[in-house]
Symmetry: C2
Subunit: 305 residues, 2 copies
């Protein structure tokens, strides 16, 4: 198997400037010369939202790639159309023309560099494991479609190719560019392309035997009585503690009247919070997500856990 | 002199949620009971921009309080009207009905807690000095109108009362709330009200003999050949180094093609950068501001420097 047709996307969310800057930067560099065995395509995901410095115009583009919606010509709104235009470029969901997509995102959460995988293909885990060799403090976050949306299929942009990952980097405010953040993401992209190129040439890069993977478990909402005037916020004990184990009784919310609330669920598993206090999720009342920590064998894959 | 009529403002910029949350919080608390000698009024500066989670609708509300514009009934746009509505509440600029305004802001810059003073009245410096007793790592940033805008008059909201300050806190992303940030700003407001109340009752609070003040000097723009595709960014050596001395030759910009640029001005004074990489200033092509560091005697005031 050769992975030759690659699309790197920035600005799938219009206020996450880092990705847009990086695809512009890559476009000005010697990308094609450096990776002559790869056919690399650069894509600005949501140009209209980027122009207005907002996440999206009508709906989240990165939740707009479900087959049913891509096939529904009656849907209106900018992103519903934009998703179809992107399909035209990348190939239909059931007949993809790109082998691998890298989609660059940023977050207001303290998630460092997080490599998001949307399925359990061995190649994706190996790709992530290779990147982790160069950026040892990066995290791998695996989001199975059924655990996330109850559907067998993802509606993420990266679901438009058989392989790929989303890069999530934070904390960084929306609408700004940071030199240090740019450099980190550049390093991830470089490592990814290096891995792909090596594999294509028949070299099997040395990988650690297993990698730690955070597997999405559930979403935690703010208290339901939240209103604009009374809403709870993330408790300072939880803020910035992405990937640090959350235990029953740990404080997670603080109300406007000064009352702190603990995490009260009984869980079978040890859970690790991610996307804590992500700005983009406020409108959906989402406070953070929880993941379980698993180990994935880079040779035998996820099925052997 | 008694300072009795106080207005605390949040959401002058609609995507700086902290201030809005705090005025809601103060409104639910026992503010009036606790400070029974003060008549405290709470104001949501830009409700429409807050609703849309944007800084402003048509123009920056915090640059809309110049007398000429307040008196110009031909001006259209949401903020031009909103400024007039606020005047109706706070009194005309030349006949203010409030004694003091505290305006809560946030920034994506690493400015910690910064107390912004818009004039050199002794009372304001003493107020800031008192707050600094409780929050020793807070900064005092003094912006004279003429140095800032070339006008003898400010167009800031706080210019609508004889006394007051703007609280600037960062770094925090636009559109989010942080428990730790809320607590810090709450502490500043509490110290401010305590100072005012003490002074009103004839007590002269003990203050350190002098305070360090950063006095606005000039604004530094991104290189003028910046376009959406090629723009330079803040160099990582400068990023987050607000209030740390900038010397000629220090790297300040980094271009999309990987070239770093130093600060090249010859200055008479030692200069200290502030508002480094503030998201809101991108559209004006402003990279950061520079201030000189002065010492202000809290008894004899600014004139004796």
């Amino acid at each position: 198997m050769k992975i030759e047709n690659i699309t790197i996307v920035g600005g799938t969310h219009g206020n996450e400037d880092t990705g847009v800057y990086l695809i512009n930067q890559l476009g000005r560099g010697n990308l094609q010369k450096k990776w002559s065995d790869l056919n690399i395509d650069l894509l600005l995901g949501n140009p209209k939202a980027y122009q207005q410095s907002v996440r999206f115009i009508d709906r989240d583009l990165n939740r707009s790639f479900a087959s049913s919606e891509l096939n529904d010509l009656s849907l209106s709104g900018y992103e519903a159309n934009r998703a179809k235009a992107i399909c035209q470029k990348l190939g239909a969901k059931d007949a993809p023309e790109r082998d691998l997509i890298i989609d660059i995102h940023t977050t207001t959460s303290n998630m460092g560099i997080t490599l998001i995988l949307a399925d359990n293909k061995d190649y994706n885990f190996q790709l992530a494991a290779y990147i982790q060799k160069y950026i040892p403090d990066c995290y791998i976050y695996y989001i199975p479609a059924d655990d996330y949306s109850g559907s067998s299929e993802h509606s993420f942009l990266i679901s438009m190719a058989p392989f790929g990952l989303a890069i999530e980097v934070g904390p960084i405010a929306n609408g700004i560019l940071r030199h240090d953040v740019n450099k980190k993401v550049e390093k991830v992209i470089n490592a990814a392309l290096e891995f792909i190129s090596k594999k294509n040439s028949g070299v099997n890069p040395v990988l650690s035997q297993s990698v730690t993977v955070f597997k999405h478990k559930k979403v935690v909402s703010f208290p339901t009585d939240n209103t604009d005037e009374t809403h709870s916020i993330i408790h300072e004990d939880l803020q910035d503690n992405d990937y640090k184990r959350l235990k029953k009784g740990d404080l997670i919310f603080h109300t406007i009247d000064g009352i702190s609330f603990p995490y009260n669920d009984d869980d079978e598993d040890d859970l690790y919070p991610v996307f804590i206090n992500e700005a983009a999720y406020y409108y959906q009342n989402i406070a953070f997500s929880l993941a379980i920590k698993i180990s994935v064998n880079t040779k035998t894959g996820l099925q052997n856990i």
